[in-house]
């Protein structure tokens, strides 16, 4: 064992989408403060496997905070107690010896549990498929420098584009609203000249899909912004509202 922290974990275990889940308590002993949260779970899982018990399933991949695959609702907060941090970048030094940690999956009707802590976030993919792109084919595009874009606009679009699609916004929101996610993508294209041609049909298409997936409405609590691991701002949501209402009230574009 490589550390001296002993923790009690209460972990949501659920075999699949058709069965009911429950909390199971585990002891995580000998945890080093230098471990990441997921490495702590690795240690617990190795013990479980040695005992012949099914390890705790959770989604993760890059473990450097960019792929957006890790999730986990830790002690009441998505991605745990730290700000601007994904679960994979959360380290055990943010906890103390003897602490009890409750680990739950993202909770939303649109994110059904697949197993234990892993949820199905393909709703996000479908929203993007509804309109999160510029309709250009490969080839036949103008030179990259043919359209100058003011640095401030480009930087703002970049800020919106940094969304990693993890779903913490939905998990944090008391209404399970996906507005921050949708607005980040709509904003990126609404700001850039490349996105102008389909600006209003895009906002409508993506909102339609968002609603169809069963996410809740935004009540502007700001929880999403506070919990977003990459700092996507609420101004994006205001922009989405603007884009959508402008589209609905003043434009006649159809949704593709």
């Amino acid at each position: 064992m490589s550390g001296n922290m002993n923790l009690t974990l209460k972990v949501w275990r659920q075999k699949n989408n058709k069965t009911r889940g429950k909390f199971v308590t585990y002891n995580a002993n000998g945890i080093s403060p230098d471990m990441s949260f997921l490495e702590m779970l690795d240690v617990v899982n190795e013990d479980l496997v040695r005992k012949g018990e099914d390890p705790i399933h959770f989604d993760h991949d890059c473990r450097e905070g960019i792929c957006g695959m890790c999730s986990l609702h830790i002690n009441g907060r998505p991605h745990g107690p730290n700000q601007l941090t994904t679960t994979c970048q959360l380290h055990m030094r943010s906890f103390h010896d003897g602490q009890t940690i409750v680990i739950e999956p993202w909770r939303a009707a649109a994110f059904p549990v697949i197993k234990d802590l892993a949820v199905d976030r393909t709703a996000f993919d479908r929203i993007q498929q509804a309109g999160g792109y510029v309709n250009v084919n490969t080839g036949g595009v103008p030179d990259a420098n043919s359209i100058p874009i003011p640095k401030a606009v480009s930087d703002e679009a970049f800020e919106s584009a940094t969304c990693i699609g993890c779903g913490a916004c939905v998990a944090a929101c008391k209404n399970s609203s996906a507005m921050l996610f949708v607005s980040a993508k709509v904003s990126q294209y609404a700001l850039l000249p490349q996105g102008q041609t389909e600006r209003y049909s895009r906002a409508q298409a993506m909102v339609n899909q968002m609603d169809a997936e069963g996410f809740g409405s935004c009540t502007n609590t700001g929880a999403c912004e506070a919990e977003c691991p990459v700092g996507i701002k609420l101004t994006n949501i205001a922009r989405l509202n603007r884009e959508y209402f402008t589209a609905k009230l003043f434009k006649e574009e159809e949704v593709h």
Binding site: M69, I114, D125, N145, F158
Partner: protein
């Protein structure tokens, strides 16, 4: 000898001429073809989207929960393109030349030139998609010099270029999914290739949620499944990165080329303990201002490790800025392989720092004195924050600790100029193939290659093959589909029947240690021979004593891992075999027997100027080496020197 199918003619005209000579598929017939794309990183997403735009039916597969999570997303630095927007003398030819030279003259000239040619189109394409590259105040695109290049040709989006490029390709893919031209299979892992009469005609996948093992048919199969760095257990790759798809294809007849070429990145955050699951890269731009050092003597290093003295107690004259000392003209900016090897050398001497002693310092004290803390923060703030978060040490106050880590694999599935493997109808794109980086990849070139292959090469070359085979539907009822599916099923059930005492990670970690120790930054005959033996024993241990829990018909991460590690255990032996046979040093492959008097890598162009492509001959049988001669008509071979 392997035929690379490189077209004749002057280098700069090869690709244009070849495009003209390639057969075309009639637009009305394209929809009668189905193309399978495995993997949705830069290469896979861009290929799937571009082919669907042309009118082909595409089936795309990824093991992640969304195509957007592929590990291309983690690339930080940037993407090269010979745009010469900065008027600093860049050109297609210069990018070509730099890439061949950077690859230590072990890549194919024609491929690299094509890569440099299409690099300019990539930037145009990405900008048109709305990728928010960094810009200057005038509104035009910004560039920086990267990885010691003499020109500023790297386009970037802060420290998240890979993410922005992948999201661009993902958006193009989404557009096609919406149109119904791409059928996307998330959380599906390719477990085998189906061949009929020697041609690739489909794949077998496992649905990672239901466990269903299904076969999918297509007229061509594109492997865009990335590299195999995770054979080392610890690497900067994502946890799920694996060689399985490529390895299964290899066992079905695709030759595997240069498996020993591994890139070890010098600036990663060091390992803290056995629990470590992966390594985090810090952009190499840090070496522009950071100074690398260790204590001059072993005694001082020991005291420091034990905490008897503090870093500040080590006087300037007791610090060894070894890169500056040994390479006065390049200093801290020597190429990745040189920086990495030197770090290993000082650590092996016992002069390493940090509690484990397996790290060197990267010190910003001088930069902070010279530029001020604010200027340093503006340049590297996000990297410093990341370091601080992971290590709990403040790099503004004390030097960073860094150590090399496995980052990229230049080797991969052998492909010809058309990106086709030795199995007709089977293609390999991006990091999965071996083609463009020779023995060492330059910074900001991986993203370039992935997108070049997907957007601008495969849409032309795959048509040539398809036009030749006719558009009759693939016979779904061909016995090979069921046969291969059964084989996969048996393999899965065999894995699930293993009920030993070791976990899959136990074995994987052991494999990592063996590979790092004997087939890592420096390799020698004795070590490699030993490694071969150790790997065989370990493979036996795996099948005898590992335990795999759960059942197939559910999400089962134990099973997923076990299948991947089983394949790594086979690949590892081939890597060692390849490293053993290549008795020269080149790029990422450093053979201790082949070095200059000054301890630098020494190539042996006379005997090893070839691509080593290995053919699988059956379980337990030695793989057969095929050589593709590398001929250099344009580039002059020189020994690299950074003194």
């Amino acid at each position: 000898m392997l035929d690379s199918k490189v077209p004749a003619g002057p280098l700069a005209e090869k690709w244009s001429r070849h495009k003209f000579n390639l057969k075309l598929v009639n637009p009305a017939n394209k929809r009668k073809y189905t193309i399978i794309v495995v993997g949705t990183g830069l290469a896979g997403s861009s290929a799937a989207a571009s082919l669907a735009e042309l009118g082909y039916n595409v089936k795309a597969f990824c093991y992640q929960d969304s195509p957007r999570r592929a590990h291309s997303i983690a690339a930080q630095g940037g993407i090269n393109a010979a745009k010469n927007y900065q008027n600093d003398g860049d050109s297609v030819y210069r990018l070509f030349y730099d890439t061949v030279k950077g690859g230590d003259y072990r890549s194919r000239e024609a491929n690299v030139h094509r890569l440099a040619e299409v690099s300019v189109n990539i930037i145009d394409q990405c900008v048109a998609q709305g990728v928010p590259f960094a810009r200057e105040y005038g509104g035009l695109l910004d560039n920086r010099s990267f990885g010691g290049a003499q020109v500023s040709r790297t386009f970037y989006a802060r420290g998240q270029t890979g993410q922005q490029l992948l999201l661009g390709a993902y958006s193009a893919l989404n557009r096609q999914i919406h149109k119904g031209t791409v059928k996307m299979y998330n959380r599906h892992e390719m477990l085998d290739l189906v061949t009929i009469d020697g041609h690739a005609r489909g794949i077998v996948t496992r649905d990672m949620i239901t466990g269903e093992i299904e076969s999918h048919e297509g007229h061509a199969v594109l492997l865009c499944t990335g590299g195999y760095g995770n054979v080392f257990f610890l690497s900067t790759n994502a946890m799920g990165c694996n060689v399985t798809a490529a390895w299964r294809a290899h066992k079905r007849g695709a030759f595997f080329a240069n498996p020993c070429y591994t890139q070890i990145h010098p600036t990663c955050i060091p390992v803290t303990g056995d629990h470590q699951s992966k390594l985090t890269l810090m952009s190499e731009s840090l070496r522009n201002d950071g100074r690398v050092w260790v204590p001059k003597t072993v005694e001082l290093a020991q005291k420091l490790r034990k905490g008897e003295i503090k870093i500040a107690d080590i006087k300037e004259e007791d610090r060894d800025y070894y890169l500056e000392r040994k390479y006065p003209s390049f200093g801290n900016l020597v190429p990745r392989d040189v920086a990495s090897r030197n770090a290993k050398e000082v650590v092996d001497e016992g002069r390493g720092v940090g509690a484990s002693g397996i790290a060197v310092f990267l010190d910003f004290e001088d930069a902070i004195k010279r530029l001020g803390e604010d200027a340093v923060r503006a340049k590297y703030g996000n990297l410093f924050d990341m370091y601080h978060q992971i290590t709990d040490e403040n790099p503004y106050k004390q030097p960073m600790r860094i150590y090399p880590a496995v980052h990229y694999t230049m080797g991969g599935v052998w492909v010809d100029y058309n990106l086709m493997t030795t199995v007709p109808g089977l293609y390999a794109l991006g990091e999965c193939n071996f083609s463009d980086h020779g023995a060492n990849r330059l910074g900001a070139s991986a993203l370039m290659q992935g997108l070049a292959d997907g957007y601008f090469v495969i849409p032309y070359t795959v048509g040539d093959y398809l036009a030749g085979i006719g558009f009759d539907p693939v016979d779904k009822n061909h016995p090979n589909f069921e046969k291969t599916r059964k084989e996969v099923e048996e393999r899965v059930h065999h894995l699930l029947s293993l009920k030993g005492n070791k976990t899959v990670d136990d074995i994987h970690k052991k494999l990592g240690h063996i590979m790092w120790e004997y087939c890592g930054m420096a390799r020698n005959e004795a070590g490699l021979t030993k490694a071969k033996e150790l790997i065989r024993e370990l493979r036996q241990e795996f099948w005898d004593d590992v335990t795999v829990l759960g059942e197939n018909e559910e999400m089962n991460q134990s099973l997923e891992k076990a299948g991947r590690v089983a394949d790594f255990l086979e690949l590892a032996e081939l890597m060692v075999e390849d490293a053993l046979h290549r008795r020269e040093s080149c790029g990422g492959h450093f053979r201790e027997e082949s070095q200059t008097d000054e301890g630098e890598a020494k190539r042996d162009d006379e005997n090893f100027s070839y691509v080593a492509a290995w053919e699988y001959k059956g379980d337990g049988q030695a793989e057969v080496l095929h050589k593709e001669a590398l001929e250099f008509e344009y580039v002059k071979l020189t020994q690299r020197s950074y003194k």
